[in-house]
Symmetry: C2
Subunit: 143 residues, 2 copies
DNA sequence: ACTTTACCAGACTTGTTAGTCTTAAATTAG
DNA sequence: CTAATTTAAGACTAACAAGTCTGGTAAAGT
């Protein structure tokens, strides 16, 4: 089981962080991404296409083609990616699965999870992917 | 998508909380549980059987039979249930899915998620299901 | 003993996610 | 123009999770 996000979403987050390292409008091919990130080629292709359709990435065909961010890196947060791939159900669903969980009818961890959920949200929006990518020291992201 | 736990796990947590409300060795049938909690009968049966095999519940066949907690309610935490059904991968896997994420090779949210994970763990172990059940006001748990 | 009530066990079906494959379309370089 | 390269699109398969069904076994009450 993945931790919170689907595998698709994890791959998307990794790929977008990688693209955030590239300057201006430099294009990166799926081939390069799958090589660096060890993600199945055609699967990643579908994910990137989906992100491109939603405007988070822009793409170009042909040699020298590939993918790049669809907007400035400092305007994209991890939350944007999660929202596009997995949706935001985790922001309002009960963590114990009670269909009717609410403030008046709380589950045993309602308050506690509410706090955690806010912190989780903050983790996803408080920094943009430009900042994150610059601080990144992961060897698989090196040229 | 479920928030963090599988649907099986959510059902298990709900059912065990319900059982924690019953006194001493009183038995509760699957029928009663599915009626109160709106969980598919045969699916819940399989989940309870699995919990019984792992010792978290005890079961009895025949009329007056059913399920009850396999140990005192104040010795069971939500974490015990999660551990039995979903496992504890969420306690050590990278939230962004990086296979090699670690202290020396951290993902952009490594530290942040580390703190959240500990709080999540604490949410699951700091109170036992006996306490939780007693404070529970959910109408579907009423007789 | 017999009948009823419940759990037990495992096969089965369905739905969703993950991953693969093939053909088409666009762009670049020669 | 042509060939090579790369994304686009959609069908296809595989694996897993969710949910159903059937026949069996144990216990209780009469």
């Amino acid at each position: 089981m993945s931790v919170i996000f689907s595998r698709q979403c994890e791959y998307a987050l990794q790929a977008v962080l990688y693209l955030a390292l590239k300057q201006n409008g430099e294009m990166t091919s799926i081939r390069e991404l799958t090589k660096k990130l060890k993600i199945p080629y055609h699967f990643l292709a579908k994910i990137l296409q989906s992100l491109a359709q939603k405007g988070l990435l822009s793409s170009l065909k042909g040699p020298t083609g590939g993918f790049s961010l669809g907007m400035p890196a400092d305007e994209i947060t991890l939350f944007h990616i999660v929202e596009a791939i997995d949706g935001v159900a985790f922001m309002h669903n009960c963590v114990l699965g009670f269909p009717d969980c609410s403030g008046e009818n709380p589950c045993p961890v309602h308050e506690r999870w509410g706090g955690l959920r806010e912190e989780l949200y903050s983790m996803l929006v408080s920094r943009n992917i430009g900042q994150m990518a610059r601080e990144l020291t992961k060897p698989e992201y090196k040229t």
